[in-house]
Amino acid sequence: MEPREELRLAARHAYERGRWRHALAVAWPALFLAGLSLRSAGDLVLQAALAVTLLAVAVGFAWRGGPVGRAVRPGLAVGLIPYLLPPLVFRATCGTESCDESCLVACAVAGGAAGLWLAWRAHRSEAPAVLAAGLIASLTASLGCAPLGLGPGLVAVGSLLAAALPVVARWRRA
């Protein structure tokens, strides 16, 4: 191989190593959220699977860059609402009769609020960014509700998508 082509290859490797460092710097909140969720009670296998998936998606998107890379932090921010609210409700109502129902409602409400926030951000973003942010937000939301059970996790994600999709679709048509 010619010296200049060797240098080009070395520079390309240096660039990709830099992209991985950048990806970890962008996606580190996902690592923090995933680690925190594994300390909660509940189905550890399910939570571990969701945590690993969130990490892989966040780091992978940040490494890729472009619209999906730019969607990582916004997606994590949107997912924080259903990640944080239901466990707080659970702590407040745990041991009472309304525990299960309150947590389910909290997952639905938090998921819906996150979905509306995602939809509000979506009208300024490209489609790949919206989808990427939606995926990351859904995974983060499910991490927050999964310790309460599979049902609450699905409710959180379902509410998020149900709130976001119609609004996003209307904006896209306009």
Binding site: G18, R19, H22
Partner: protein, 174 residues
Amino acid sequence: MDARTRRAVSQWTARLADGDRAAFDPLFDALWPFVRALARRWLSDDADADDAAQQTLLRVFARVSEYDPARDAVPWIVAIAANECRTLRNRRLRRREDALPDDLVRAEASFEEHQLEVLATELLTELSPDDRAALRAAWFGDGRPDVAPATFRKRVQRAAERLRALWRARHGTP
């Protein structure tokens, strides 16, 4: 580097920072002759200059994901090149100092000091007459103006800042 190429380099750098790999080859092809010419201007030895240019290119591509697209890319690249040339030169000097007899080391240090004085004197001519007078008065006690000490200190401080800015623009960060 002409203005058109400079703009293209900034655009390719910004795209690469965002993860657009298609910008890698045009940026590499534009930068290699540029950083090589810079290094050959700063280092007397062609082999050393090529080493420094290669290290510069690798460092630019490793760090490009951290690059702020709001800034002009060329000064950022020039600063990295200046740093690599300085590091290489210092490393070579330290090796030679270990091998050289003391009086030769002293002669070389005094030559370098003289070179720095010549460069600094050149830059002094680019300062305004007031700045030059302030610095001459502060360094050589030559014609100190009849103003309050605090005012004089302020003038000297500003003149020194302007001289440092000129040095950075011309010779990079020391």
